[in-house]
């Protein structure tokens, strides 16, 4: 199978959906001739024209509110935010308006089929609020789908589903993944929401990790394998909907769960997953659930500080060992 980058995979999904459906268009800051702050939309304005690849003013509320209005009127907008941290600027438009509009106006009169996509998480120079991971905010909001792909294959397949879906979808692309490569089949395909991928099969401890943390977990699993500890690594791919079954089945086997995300630990997606497992898989647990996230203070700028700030493979390894010792 051919290998392409995460960035190219997203671009392919956009191209295929724009070719297949004239209602699909994209808008955002610097997505035209510049090709997007992360280069995802490079070449698209040449291919589809300025009408369907719309550079916008620096107006996040108008990008999301405008996307929402277009969606209400039957279009399929894909709105790029230069950074998903900017969702804070248009939080009303996303959670009060796009998420709730169908209900408060008597669903199914008004659905909001819109995709909001962009980079999140910390690259080497990442700083607040640009480098944050705000996905958990949106898990709390009715009506929103939350997608965090980790591979080019998943990014393409899930973005295609996102564009075709009738909900507003928050699509989080990790900064450190854009340049990563992976196998992506030539033909067209879409992946379902709510279907986790088991990245590594194992029997001792289940690690649920999202986006860039999937690879930290896999690195930890390699290190631990040398010590005879066998990790199962699950990538939920979508947090809403969440594939509870795959996680619960894994815990039934391992009895131990660690959840790893780059977002702040308190109130993160890990809290929701842990609560779900306590409710539905409590009797399978042989040890307390551990969460590994960023500390509950803002992301430091200096790389010297940053390397101690985020959870990583080493932290996961020692957490696993601690869990098995207790």
């Amino acid at each position: 199978m051919r290998t392409i980058t995460f960035r190219e995979a997203i671009r392919e999904a956009l191209i295929e959906e724009m070719e297949a459906d004239s209602r699909v268009f994209i808008m955002g800051e610097d997505i035209g001739v510049y090709g997007g702050a992360r280069g995802v939309t490079r070449g698209l304005v040449e291919k589809f024209g300025e009408e369907r690849v719309r550079d916008t003013p620096l107006s996040e509320t108008a990008i999301i509110g405008g996307g929402m209005g277009a969606a209400l009127a039957g279009m399929r907008p894909v709105c790029e935010l230069m950074l998903m941290g900017f969702t804070a600027v248009c939080f009303d438009e996303i959670q009060n308006l796009a998420g709730k509009w169908p209900f408060i106006h008597g669903e199914p009169q008004f659905k909001v089929p819109m995709v909001i996509r962009g980079p999140f998480g910390a690259g080497p120079g990442g700083v607040e609020p640009h480098a944050q991971c705000p996905e958990a905010f949106f898990m709390h909001c009715p009506g929103l789908i939350v997608v965090l792909p980790s591979t080019p294959h998943d990014a393409k397949g899930l973005l295609k589903t996102a564009i075709r879906d009738e909900h507003t979808v928050l699509f989080f692309e990790h900064e450190r993944l854009y340049g990563t490569e992976g196998p992506v089949p030539e033909g067209t395909y879409a992946l379902p929401f709510g279907k986790a991928e088991i990245r590594r099969k194992g029997k001792d401890v289940t690690v649920v990790a999202t986006a860039y943390m999937v690879f930290q977990a896999l690195t930890a699993a390699q290190g631990l394998a040398e010590k005879g500890i066998d990790l199962e690594v699950i990538d939920p791919r979508t947090l809403v909907p969440l594939d509870e079954e795959t996680i619960l089945e894994s815990i039934h086997k391992t009895g131990r769960l660690i959840i790893v995300h780059e977002a702040y630990e308190r109130g993160g997606s890990g809290a929701e997953i842990a609560a779900m497992v306590c409710e539905k898989g409590f009797h399978d647990l042989r040890a307390p659930i551990l969460r590994l996230g960023a500390p509950n203070y803002p992301i430091p700028y200096s790389p010297a500080l940053k390397k101690h700030y985020f959870p990583g493979a080493e932290g996961i390894e020692s957490a696993v060992q601690k869990l098995l010792k207790d």
Binding site: M68, A73, N96
Partner: protein
């Protein structure tokens, strides 16, 4: 202007007034569980600015939206049923003040003020991209003119020459704060030229002036020339909501002065002067409007409350 149009505008204003007066009674009787924001005194704007729109034009209304909804064509009974939380409400009893009806182009109400400013360009963009000639109208008040979305939404509409008509209903108070304490501008419409679109000030109590200005703006939008902002100066006779008597921050004399400028009486005088209608005709219209209001009240009262099982089909979308 033609007799038929003028009498129709008058009848819609009268219907709105009698409807809202009836809402006051129902609210006092405890029949309406949520907030009620009345536009008594605003009828020239809520009717005159909506009448030039086609049924398939989009309209985003504010929380003070009874008049606009009636003018655009939501049956009054369904509006009232919505406020009473009934299953027959236009938003199925799920939204209260969030009135919407796709069949007449009413696309909804933003809860936080200012959401409409940014949704409107999106609706209009869709019409432009699909090549329809639909126009989007966006209603807001003087208070909401100070939201940041005012700048973002109007700038985008002007930049992309989108078919939007921004309808500012300036009733001089954002809840309790008078406009002079909320902005330096005398006229909100003054902000429009700086963003590259015409800003038009009209007497918001003169239904003909409102109609003519909006009609021109709608035609301008429909022909692809871009958005217009229309500001109608009017006054709210009642409090911000029916929980607010509206007396703590306004001189009673000011309220009385504005009641003297009643847009409905003004139009009635005009119709009588022009001999478009006689006093018998006025009385007949009054009876007809009262009949429609009572019919709406009966419809809403006799409607059933939604049952939890009715909700199931609405929450499928949320079952994710």
């Amino acid at each position: 202007m033609e007799k038929e149009l003028l009498t129709d505008l008058y009848e819609k204003m009268l219907l709105t007034r009698r409807f809202e007066e009836r809402v006051v009674e129902l609210f006092k009787q405890g029949m309406i569980p949520g907030a009620v924001h009345l536009g008594i005194g605003h009828e020239a704007f809520s009717v005159g600015a909506i009448a030039p729109l086609r049924k398939d034009d989009y309209l985003l209304i504010s929380h003070r939206g009874f008049g606009h909804s009636i003018a655009k064509g939501i049956p009054p009974g369904r509006i009232l049923a919505e406020y009473m939380g009934k299953a027959t409400g236009c938003s199925r009893g799920l939204g209260g003040a969030h009135l919407a009806d796709r069949t007449v182009g009413i696309a909804g109400v933003s809860g936080c003020q200012g959401g409409n400013h940014v949704i409107a360009p999106g609706l209009a963009l869709a019409s432009k991209m699909k090549g329809t000639d639909q126009v989007t109208a966006c209603v807001f008040g003087d208070g909401t003119s100070n939201r940041g979305t005012f700048l973002e939404g109007i700038n985008l509409a002007a930049l992309w020459k989108l078919p939007v008509v921004f309808l500012c209903e300036n009733n001089r108070y954002g809840f309790s704060v008078p406009i002079r304490r909320a902005m330096v501008n005398e006229d909100i419409a003054d902000r429009a030229p700086s963003l590259g679109l015409p800003g038009v000030v009209v007497d918001g109590n003169d239904v003909i002036a409102v109609y003519e200005a909006t009609d021109k703006a709608v035609e301008r939008a429909r022909s692809g020339e871009g958005p217009t902002l229309i500001e109608g100066k009017t006054y709210r006779w009642r409090g911000h909501t029916e929980w607010d008597p509206g007396t703590a921050y306004r001189d009673p004399q000011e309220v009385e002065e504005w009641k003297g400028k009643c847009p409905i009486k003004r139009m009635q005088r005009r119709l009588l002067e022009e001999k478009f209608i006689d006093s018998e005709g006025i009385e007949a219209m009054e009876r007809e409007v009262t009949r429609q209001v009572e019919e709406a009240v009966q419809f809403a009262m006799n409607s059933k409350a939604p049952r939890p099982e009715d909700l199931e089909s609405h929450i499928v979308y949320y079952d994710i």
